[in-house]
Structures are given as structure tokens and as C-alpha cells.
Amino acid sequence: MTRSWLLLLALLVVMAALSLATPLDSLIELRKADPALASMLVQELRLPRTLLALGYGAVLGLTGAALQATFANPLASPDITGSSSGAALGAVAGAYWLGITGPLMLAICGAIGAGLALAGLFAVAGRRSETATLLLAGVAIALAAGAGTSLLLALAPSPFAFYDSFEWLMGSFVDRSLPQAAAALIPATIACALLAQQGRALDMMALGDDVAASVGYQPRRLAVEVVALSAIAVGACVSVCGAIAFVGLIAPYAARALTRGHPGRALLPAAAIGAILLLLADLIVRLAPAGRSIPVGVITTAIGTPLFIWIVARMRRTVAS
């Protein structure tokens, strides 16, 4: 475990450095021509982008792992449970209908949207539900939130709402400012730090709620805590960068391979893997032809869909055997 930890951390540092430095040649040229401008470019443009990709990836990995442990289901994640879509709906409602512009207030709107989506999931599917029930309820909530978002944008007072929001909501780290990064990442970091404390309790919940309760944990209270903290972390990130799919599903899955299946111990490795994945996806985005931009969400979905299908096929085999 220590060795895989060191490897993960090394990979994380390399990816973050690559994210700051890419593309390198233009940075070197700019540095020769105007060193002050070059350092401003790194600080104002590249640093928030790197921080957001790293932080949002970590949030998706960690909340995905915590939600999967809580729902006792390897397919629960911020996107599958509809909380990312709920956060987007909250942020759109705040931005286009309540006229909110401050990034921190928008982050709060996102968190409220994500929280309502997860509360809806609780109400519809219950907690320890069958995979099919969880997925169907999550899909229904995600579709409803998506339709709600479209409706709010279509009827928004600003005629440009649809166009404006495309770049914002499709999942992107381009042109975000440091204050925006702070609005997303400060609440997210606090929520994640609190979530990370629950590893031992979540491992005990792997043996069932009754066993966890018999040794003195409070599974129901813990579930509410996990859902609320996940909503805050995901909501804040979605309000700045839009919804990004699949990282929250794949990262915990990979992390559990390192923690020999323990869902609780997988929290921090899942955060590291999520960060690496999202930094990688954002680097791939930069390979797009000049003048064009591909939303990072497209890349994570392209990588994530086949993996998701593979996981479902594996689950089916496990159930069948």
C-alpha cells in the first residue's frame, strides 16, 4: 500500500507539473520576450486551471468512493446519482433567475441543487437498494434535473443564456479565475477533509449497517453526513466547472483494487486517482486544434463509457456465479 501510495503521489505531482507547463514552447518564448507576462500567464490562467482539474478530480474520486460505500453499491457516484445534474440546475437557477454573480454564492446554489438531488434519490430508491433501483432512480433524477436546467435556460431573462452556459456547464477548466477556483475548492476541501475522517466507519459498514451499529457507529447519521458533505463538495465544483461524468465512478473502482476491496480505506487513493484522471483529461483537451475547444467532460465520458460497460459486465458475472 505504501508503495502504491508513493506511486500515486508521484504521478499526481508529474501530472500537475505537466498541466502547468503545457504547452511549454509558447511559455518559454513568452518568458524570453516578457518574463513578467509569462509569470502572469501561469498565475492567472494556468494555475486556476490546474488547481481546478486537480481539486475537482479529487472531489469526484473521494465523494464517489464515499457514496459507493454508503449506498453499498459500486455504481453510486456523483453523476450516476444525479447530484452533478442537480448541482448544475442549482447553479443555473442561481445565475439566470436569481441574478447571482458571486462565485461563492453560486457554489452554495450548486450545493443546494446537489443536496436536493441526493435527498430525492434517498426518497425514491432508499439507501441500500438494488443496483437497478439505484440506477433507475439516479437516471430519472439526472434527466429531470437536466430538463429543468434546459427549461430555466430557455425561459431565462437573458436571451444568450443557452449559448453562455454551454461552455460553463459542459465541463471545462478554461478561463476560470483564481477567485472562482477558491469558491469551488475551499468549501470542497473542507467537506472532503470531513469525509476523509469516515473511512473506518465506512469499512465497518461494508459488513452491514447492523454490524457497524453494534460496534457503536451510527450508520444512518453517517449516511446523511456523507450525502450532505458530498453535495457541498460536488455542488461547489459543478457551479464553477460544470458537470463531469465518470471520474467519480471509475476512480473509486480503481482505488479499491489498491485497498484490497475496502470501500472506506479507498477514500484517499480514490481522490488521488480522480485528480490524476482529470488532469490527464484536461491535458488531452489541449491537443485540440488551435482556436477550437473540446469540453473536458467529453473526454472523461469517452474514456469512462467503455469502462462503465466493463464494470457492469463484470458485476453481472459476479452476480451470476
Binding site: G208, D210, S214, V215, R260, G261, H262, T318
Partner: protein, 237 residues
């Protein structure tokens, strides 16, 4: 001498009427009752998983105040459901029953429950009977004072029913712990020192197995009566 377990006024709304119960150390007790009579409710209340009212003391320590590491040494609970969805190894599941890592103890249990060939296999790939043995090992791991076992003999083949009873007996002798286990098969209760009959959320009979098995309360609770060596459906039912 104070009993190992002292439970006072345990109650769960609609499921368990206020109940007092003492268990002596070294005592092997079975809990019987018809489906839905309240066996699981009684065991869950004793494990303080769910409790509307009442207090539980083990060796004089109030269970509810004990933090997880301490509580693991006071009691353990084996749930009737054997579903495990995460691919955790047999060895690691047993470890989860210990307040701090102890490979020696895990090895001991793997040997005792003959789990050697399965030790590194993920538990979600095992059969229900194999998972029962793994979960039993987990319940025994911390050598708790009180073992609360919900249907520990279900899903087991005849060898493992006898072997489990033997293990429970030797645990009570060796560590002077107490065992409360719910049991469905009435022929198994003779292996226990004491039988509690639960009906409609209360303990209606409490005594040696021969007394309880021949009691009118048993016939009423199960709607069956003695017929030669076995049982038949009561005509009064």
C-alpha cells in the same frame, strides 16, 4: 456475583415489550420463536443497534457509552443476512472484527473455521455457507464477552452445524463469555444450556431445553405439538 449481561427494560415500539434479561458468563443460550415473534429484535436491542428504551450492562459497563474499540471487546453481533458486496478478502473481513490488527488471532480463526484455502479469496465470491463461517470468525475475533448471533446455524451443512456448536461451547468454556443465538431448528436447542422462547415481542418461557420444549407456551407460540419423536401441526391452530 453479578451476571455478565444485565439488560433492564429493553423495549422497541411495536416489536419488543419491556424486557429484563440476565446471562451468566459461560452460559450458552438459544433464542427460539416463530417467524416475526421478535428474536431478531431482542438480539438487535441487546447489541444496542436499535433501542427505544432500556439499559444494557456487560460486566457492569454500560454498553451505549463504550467507544467502538471498547465495544468490540464487550459484544459482537452476527446478522442473519450473509450478503457482502465488496471484494474484501476472507482474512481482511476477519480483521475487521478486531479493534487493532492481530495477524496471529486471524490465523487462529482461519484454522479453527477451516478457512485456509479461502483465506485470500474475496468474500463476495464465496457461497452463503462459506460466508457464514467467515462472518462467524469475524464475530469471534475480538473475544467479546457477549456473542449475539442471529441464526448462526442457518445455511450450514450438518458438519458445520455440529462444528459451530462445538466452537461456541469451547469459547464459553475457555473465555467464560456468554452466547445468545437465535435458532430455528428445535432439534438444535438441546445443545444449549438455556432456552428463551419469544412470542409476540416478549420472552414467554425461559429455562432448560427439556422444560421449554415440553411447555404449553411452546405449543402455543409455534402452533405445533409433540408427536412421537417429532412435531405435528397443532389441531387447535
Amino acid at each position: 456475583m453479578t451476571p455478565l449481561l444485565e439488560a433492564r427494560g429493553l423495549a422497541l415500539r411495536n416489536r419488543l415489550e419491556p424486557t429484563d434479561l440476565d446471562c451468566a458468563s459461560g452460559e450458552l443460550t438459544s433464542v427460539i420463536g416463530a417467524n416475526g415473534a421478535g428474536k431478531t429484535s431482542l438480539l438487535r436491542a441487546l447489541a444496542s443497534i436499535e433501542l427505544d428504551q432500556g439499559q444494557i450492562f456487560i460486566d457492569g459497563t454500560p454498553v451505549e457509552d463504550a467507544p467502538p474499540a471498547r465495544r468490540m471487546r464487550l459484544l459482537s453481533f452476527l446478522p442473519a443476512t450473509r450478503s457482502l458486496i465488496w471484494p474484501i478478502s476472507v482474512r481482511d473481513v476477519i480483521s475487521l472484527g478486531l479493534p487493532s490488527p492481530d495477524d496471529g488471532r486471524v490465523d487462529e480463526l482461519i484454522e479453527e473455521l477451516e478457512l485456509g484455502p479461502l483465506a485470500n479469496r474475496p468474500v463476495n465470491h464465496l457461497s452463503t455457507g462459506e460466508r457464514s463461517r467467515v462472518l462467524m470468525a469475524r464475530a469471534l475475533a475480538a473475544r467479546p464477552r457477549l456473542l449475539l448471533l442471529d441464526e448462526p446455524l442457518s445455511n450450514l451443512d450438518p458438519y458445520w452445524v455440529l462444528r459451530t456448536l462445538e466452537i461456541l461451547r469451547s469459547e464459553t468454556v475457555l473465555t467464560q463469555c456468554a452466547v445468545l443465538a437465535s435458532v430455528h431448528d428445535l432439534s438444535q436447542v438441546t445443545a444449549f444450556d438455556r432456552v428463551l422462547l419469544v412470542d409476540d415481542g416478549k420472552i414467554v418461557a425461559d429455562g432448560k431445553s427439556t422444560e421449554v420444549l415440553n411447555s404449553s407456551q411452546l405449543a402455543r407460540a409455534f402452533r405445533i405439538e409433540k408427536a412421537g419423536q417429532g412435531w405435528k401441526i397443532s389441531e387447535k391452530a
